[in-house]
């Protein structure tokens, strides 16, 4: 499953040996210091070797890493956060968290898909897969952001919308469709950050934005690689092949103009140094908001329209009745 597994073993072995030597160094400081230095040089080499230029499929795994910072880690780094709950009708879906907060002194509405950081939390948060009432909470918070006049910052991290029976019974399609409308219509600036997996319409529901920022190793795709392989070839095991076809990396999407900016991660992924990545992301969000603050709401809405209206606009064929 984990495409790094084999090569990571060498890395972990080096980490273990360096740690051992450090412990032992109390006795023979000089000799061991030189040995440590050698091993550390080796370690850096292997690190680059293992993580230096991850394939799309490897990025899928970095994006899904259990220690990768989740929405709440970003929100916890705000100056303040007051969580708001519920869809006002049915349930508070904990797969999505949202509320008002202060980010670098600026009032914002923060909304993020929240997967669990352990099994128990994963159950409570349904692995970050949002149900209709969660998307209705998002609509409400988007509306509330407009009511308060504060910009929205979203953290996108989901395999996709919840595909359960209950979600279909409570109109998942409608809930996502109306989320798209709420973001398209919001009169406040919107910055979306793809922090982990951006899976399909369930991710897009939080990602129609004036600026889309993507972490270096995040993924964002029309379907999960597994789902794509199942749909096209009825064979989910061909996920690795699908991952490279889908052009789901930040670099591809920046090139396509679908994301606006990439935030670099440490070698091996954000999980290797969450605090640095979180601070870096919040800096970039702050910069984007400062920029967007300059525009009046009608200007924002026009620019947002034009942006999405243009993406993938095909050229016209000059033949009389199109290609047929």
């Amino acid at each position: 499953m984990n495409p790094f597994a084999d090569r990571e073993r060498a890395l972990f072995e080096l980490e273990r040996r360096i740690a051992e030597l450090r412990t032992a160094s109390a006795d023979q400081p000089v000799v061991i210091a030189s040995e440590i230095a050698t091993l550390e040089a080796k370690y850096q080499e292997v690190l680059h070797d293992v993580y230096g230029s991850p394939t799309p499929w490897q990025k899928v795994h970095i994006a899904r890493h259990p220690n990768r910072p989740t929405a709440l880690e970003y929100i916890a780094a705000f100056d303040r956060f007051d969580e708001l709950h519920g869809d006002r009708a049915y349930r508070d879906d904990q797969a999505v968290v949202g509320g008002l907060g202060l980010l670098r002194g600026r009032a914002v509405m923060a909304i993020g898909q929240q997967r669990g950081r352990d099994t128990k939390e994963n159950l409570r948060r349904n692995f970050g897969m949002v149900a209709p009432e969660g998307y209705r909470k998002v609509q409400r918070l988007a509306h509330l952001a407009t009511r308060f006049g504060v910009p929205m910052v979203t953290f996108v991290d989901t395999k996709g919308a919840d595909p359960g029976i209950g979600s279909e019974e409570r109109a998942q399609s409608e809930a996502i469709a109306q989320c798209l409308v709420a973001f398209t219509d919001a009169t406040v600036p919107i910055v979306a950050v793809i922090i982990g997996e951006g899976g399909s319409g369930g991710a897009l529901a939080l990602a129609i934005a004036d600026r889309v920022i993507m972490l270096e190793n995040s993924t964002y795709s029309v379907a999960s690689p597994e789902g794509c392989a199942a749909i096209l070839w009825a064979d989910a095991t061909k996920a690795e092949e699908a991952a490279s076809h889908l052009k789901l990396t930040a670099q591809d999407l920046l090139r396509f103009g679908i994301v606006d900016e990439i935030v670099p991660e440490p070698l091996g992924g954000a999980n290797r140094d969450p605090a640095t990545v979180v601070a870096r992301v919040l800096d970039r969000v702050d910069a984007a908001l400062s920029d967007l603050d300059r525009y009046a709401s009608p200007t924002l809405l026009s620019a947002r329209y034009e942006k999405y209206r243009r993406i993938g606009s095909s050229k016209r064929d000059s033949s009389p009745a199109g290609k047929r």
Binding site: D82, D92, G149, V150, S297
Partner: protein, 287 residues
């Protein structure tokens, strides 16, 4: 505006009434000295039970300093000339005497954490916080004045529903309050409600649930139909948690449950966000 003379009088009177009395906590049974209880914002120091709280006590704990009451002069009416065991005016006179309040809600303006805001506080001690024409009128006046000042309004609810003795005039106050809320919010002003124990019936089904942000106190009973009515309908006892603030939070009806001692702080946060968004909110332009 300065704190009116009568408010000082009112509070001194409360103080007097509350002195040297003990209250038993309905939750844990602890006997609590009322002066201590008042100092603790009417929260049981043993089990955290939130007692029902007087409107003026509440106001003094929320506003920074002065509070300029409005609508206090709205006259008590008796539109149906209602009399059952007692006449309605006699019932009202009794409640005025007992509660020290002129009616079921106190409205006015003051500063909260340095932010100017409208504040309406219902009081269960006056006719069970029921909404009649005076409550409706005062809520409408608060929101109209809030609208003309373009400041956020905060309403603490506590109500058994519409007041029977004013018949359809009472029901029409739902429409009146809604009209006032709608004009107020359509101009881009923010409404925050804090639901306290109990918030039911017509108040619950109007402005309580028409706010931008809905806060509730721990343990508050909140719902449309009363427990008794539901139990009669379904012919079985309801679980204790049913219709509590915590239950509603889980069911997604309210934004947050906040302990009384943290409510002012939360309101200040919310007013702060609103202040920062005022330019874009009220004028649709850049902040």
């Amino acid at each position: 505006m300065p704190m009116p003379e009568w408010l000082h009088v009112r509070r001194a009177k409360d103080e007097e009434r509350n002195t040297a009395q003990w209250s038993k906590c309905p939750e844990c049974g602890e006997m609590l000295y009322r002066r201590d209880l008042a100092a603790n914002l009417w929260v049981c120091s043993r089990c955290n039970h939130h007692f029902r709280m007087g409107a003026y006590d509440r106001i003094s704990g929320i506003v920074d300093g002065d509070f300029a009451e409005i609508g206090a002069d709205v006259q008590v009416g008796d539109p149906l000339s209602w009399t059952d065991r007692k006449s309605y005016p006699a019932k009202l006179a009794g409640d005025r005497e007992k509660s020290g309040l002129s009616e079921g809600v106190v409205c006015g303006f003051g500063q909260i954490g340095g932010f100017e805001a409208g504040l309406g506080v219902m009081d269960f001690h006056f006719r069970g916080g029921t909404m009649g024409t005076v409550v409706g009128e005062r809520i409408a006046l608060l929101l109209e004045e809030g609208r003309s000042r373009a400041v956020p309004c905060i309403i603490f609810t506590a109500s058994g529903g519409a007041r029977m003795e004013e018949g359809m005039f009472a029901l029409m106050q739902l429409a009146k309050a809604t009209a006032a809320v709608t004009r107020f919010v359509n101009d881009g002003n923010l409404l925050i409600t804090v639901l306290t124990d109990p918030t039911t019936g017509g108040v619950s089904a109007s402005f309580a649930f028409q706010a931008d942000v809905i806060v509730a106190e721990p343990g508050a009973m909140i719902g449309f139909a009363g427990r008794r009515v539901i139990e009669q309908t379904i012919r079985q006892k309801l679980p204790d948690r049913f219709q509590t603030a915590e239950f509603l939070l889980e069911k997604g009806h309210i934004d947050m449950v906040v302990e009384r001692r943290r409510i002012k702080e939360m309101l200040v946060h919310l007013l702060g966000y609103a202040a920062k968004g005022a330019a874009r909110r009220l004028h649709g332009v850049r902040a």
